[in-house]
């Protein structure tokens, strides 16, 4: 398939292997044959290539995590359903015993005096009640599919509600193993998605800045370096290119290229280097997202969740909703408030539990994104604080 097509030249940029495969010495490996980077077709090809890599990278991780949770949900359903039947049988037994006792009481009294009867019966009911309370500590809700799904999610995110907990020996052992394997997987997902979302967010933010900066007069070369560079950027791309330094040339803000740039395997140092340089240029002041915006994103996600859950759950108010969102997203997870917990539907997929799970999965990624955006500033500030307090010696991490 040696068609001499303009496309072939462009593929050499991607890697040595392809160039060599196409008949070796003709094209020097790795050297860019001055490809027509501006051609529309080339851009489309690059985009599709990155899309495929992205799909396998990010969506793959998401799919892996969701698949792991689904697998765990089925496993726990199978393990705990037997024990559940036993639980119900136990409760029924206690109830039947109480009924029998009540009957005996009623039967023995030949003449029914309300007070006497009430006294004996109330003792009996009190006992029954205490047994319910005692058993409720170990009795858990139904292990439907959605409940198991939420349970598996809470295990690997370390939230750990505990409103549903395994009671069988097998269930506990499987929980331990499941947690050991699932937690690193989820951490991988969170860091991956956090990085990706942070990159997108920075790109969007810089774009927004550019739009607002466009309105400023171009010749305003202020003292601040940032503004000068922005005005350079807002000049038409083609003419600006020879003016820009090589550093800026590498970092033309092109979000797809930035993703590609980050994925070039170059070792840890390379990775860190690119991570610190947000899209659009290295030392740009406006390219780092300020802390307030990240905090706003986090808080609004929590408030949004609070409003939604308050609508869904009948007896939650706004405080309960925000309390639930905060406690869940901080992975504390008490388990006193869980959406869909009070619904006694024995079968089928309860929507609120699935929705809750989705909310948590997305929320974790968002929080990772915010921490990603905030970390440079926060670390610098903390280091300054520590140095001023004398706790941290200069030159340390």
């Amino acid at each position: 398939m040696h068609q001499h097509h303009p496309r072939d030249h462009q593929q050499l940029r991607g890697g040595n292997r392809r160039g060599l495969d196409r008949g070796g010495g003709y094209h020097p490996s790795g050297a860019s044959l001055a490809p027509d980077t501006d051609s529309w077709w080339y851009k489309v090809k690059e985009f599709t290539r990155k899309l495929i890599a992205f799909l396998f990278g990010h969506v793959g991780i998401c799919g892996l995590v969701v698949g792991y949770i689904i697998m765990g949900a089925f496993a726990f359903m199978a393990i705990e359903s037997e024990d559940q039947k036993r639980q119900y049988a136990d409760v029924e037994r206690v109830r039947e015993a109480t009924i029998q006792n009540l009957w005996n009481i009623t039967h023995e009294l030949n003449v029914l005096y309300p007070n006497e009867w009430n006294e004996s019966v109330s003792i009996e009911v009190q006992l029954f009640q205490q047994k319910i309370v005692h058993d409720a500590a170990t009795t858990t809700g139904a292990w439907s599919f959605s409940a198991s799904f939420l349970y598996c999610l809470t295990v690997i995110t370390t939230i750990g509600y505990g409103n549903i907990a395994p009671r069988t020996v097998m269930g506990k052992m499987v929980t331990i193993v499941y947690a050991m394997v699932g937690m690193p997987l989820f951490l991988l997902y969170v860091s991956n998605m956090g990085d990706f979302l942070a990159t997108c967010f920075r790109w969007g933010y810089v774009n927004l800045c550019k739009c607002t900066c466009f309105s400023r007069p171009v010749h305003h070369h202020a003292q601040r370096g940032s503004r000068r560079r922005i005005s350079q950027r807002s000049a038409p791309a083609n003419t600006a290119r020879p003016d820009l330094t090589s550093v800026q040339q590498q970092q033309q803000y092109d979000p797809v290229a930035s993703i590609h740039h980050r994925r070039i395997p170059g070792g840890p140092s390379d990775f860190d280097d690119v991570e610190l340089h947000p899209v659009g240029g290295g030392p740009y002041d406006t390219a780092t997202v300020p802390i307030t915006i990240s905090l706003t994103v986090m808080v609004s996600y929590m408030v949004g969740g609070a409003v939604l859950f308050q609508q869904w759950e009948t007896d939650w108010d706004y405080l309960d909703g925000s309390y639930f969102c905060f406690i869940s997203l901080s992975t504390t997870g008490f388990g006193d408030l869980v959406p869909g917990d009070k619904i006694n539907s024995s079968s089928g997929i309860e929507l609120s539990l699935i929705f809750c799970s989705m909310y948590l999965i997305i929320g974790m990624a968002l929080i990772a994104m915010c921490f990603n955006l905030m970390q440079e500033e926060v670390i610098a500030k903390v280091r300054k604080l520590g140095q001023s307090l004398g706790c941290i010696k200069p030159g340390e991490e």
Partner: protein, 342 residues
């Protein structure tokens, strides 16, 4: 010599220079002063952070005791009493209306009454009823455990705030407590990691000196030698497993749990999952359980430190492996997509 001192100054909490007879030929008095200064700084930093964490927990315990313990017993208790009396009156009605007490019919009706009562009780229990008053529930050790579970993000959930102010206080407590905890975590992790590295080096040196490889270790200073020795991940895992085993045995004996249950509790607590179905000392009947709660508290804090240490020691290895994995994956994908395009 100056280089050695710089390096020893740079290692925070470096245990190696604490009175160890290193081969560097510095003035002994200088070394002693240096040691003392480092020791004081070490104690101040590490102990300071540890004390901060503990005092924050204690302060939180008192605050929650005041907010939740003193609050009037929620309407839950009244509600349950109301439930019981209505159940009784229904039973009486059933009994009264049947002129002839036929067993099967009577039992049918009574069964229904009890079922309703049971379900109503289940709802009340989910709302927080457990037969105790707020004072009984929120004792100091329980409140301490609760504060710990908030800022370590374990979140047992066996004891939760029910009042509005309690919930707001919990959120604020978490917002300020989690950074403190993270600080403690990272600090403890580094200290323990350097201690462990030093210990491991000593061990390796002992083993090596038994062999013939002596000139290598003589030439190098201890610090540089330890820089070369990387603690393998398996050693960290062994430490963690040992700690887990200790906890399992301890809790199984004290609480009369099964070994599996104790292991399950240790794993879920140390991994910060915190189910809350098993909490040592949760069923507070006797005061002896209060000391158990304190020991539980200490166990969890130290356990977090050990996890931080393992994380610290394994971090570089894991990061590098992850990078390699990512790079490998990307390369393969590019390869595949390149082949697909031909």
């Amino acid at each position: 010599m100056a280089l050695d001192r710089k390096r020893s100054v740079r290692d925070r909490g470096s245990v190696r220079s604490r009175g160890s007879s290193s081969a560097s030929s510095s003035d002994p008095r200088e070394k002693l002063k240096d040691c003392c200064r480092q020791f004081v700084a070490f104690m101040f930093t590490q102990v300071g952070v540890g004390a901060l964490v503990v005092s924050y927990a204690i302060m939180g315990a008192f605050a929650f005791m005041a907010i939740e313990g003193e609050s009037e017993n929620s309407e839950n208790n009244d509600h349950v009493a109301h439930l019981r009396s209505s159940c009784l009156s229904r039973l009486w009605n059933v009994t009264d209306h049947l002129n002839v007490l036929e067993e099967r019919k009577w039992k049918l009706d009574v069964r229904q009454v009890l079922l309703d009562h049971q379900q109503a009780m289940a709802l009340a229990i989910k709302g927080g009823y457990d037969g105790r008053t707020n004072q009984e529930r929120w004792t100091f050790p329980s409140a301490l455990m609760f504060s710990l579970s908030v800022f370590t993000m374990i979140g047992f959930g066996h004891l939760v705030p029910r009042t509005q102010w309690g919930k707001i206080a919990t959120m604020l407590y978490a917002v300020f407590g989690i950074p403190v905890y993270v600080l403690y975590f990272m600090n403890m992790g580094q200290v323990l990691a350097s201690c462990f590295k030093w210990f491991y080096c000593k061990l390796v040196r002992c083993v090596n000196s038994a062999g013939a490889v002596d000139e290598l270790s003589d030439d190098m200073d201890e610090e540089s030698y330890s820089g070369l020795v990387i603690v393998p991940s398996t050693a960290c895992l062994w430490v963690w497993l040992t700690y887990l085993a200790v906890g399992t045995i301890m809790f199984a004996e004290w609480e009369n749990w099964e070994y599996l249950d104790a292991c399950y509790f240790c794993v879920t607590s140390l991994c910060k999952i915190g189910m809350g179905d098993f909490v040592p000392g949760a069923n507070l009947q006797a005061s002896s359980n209060q000391t158990k709660l304190i020991i539980n508290f200490v166990y969890l804090l130290v356990g977090m430190g050990i996890i931080a240490m393992c994380y610290n020691l394994m971090k570089e290895e894991i990061l590098v492996r992850l990078q390699e994995l990512k790079a490998d994956l990307i390369e393969r994908l590019q390869d595949v997509s390149g082949r697909m395009r031909r």
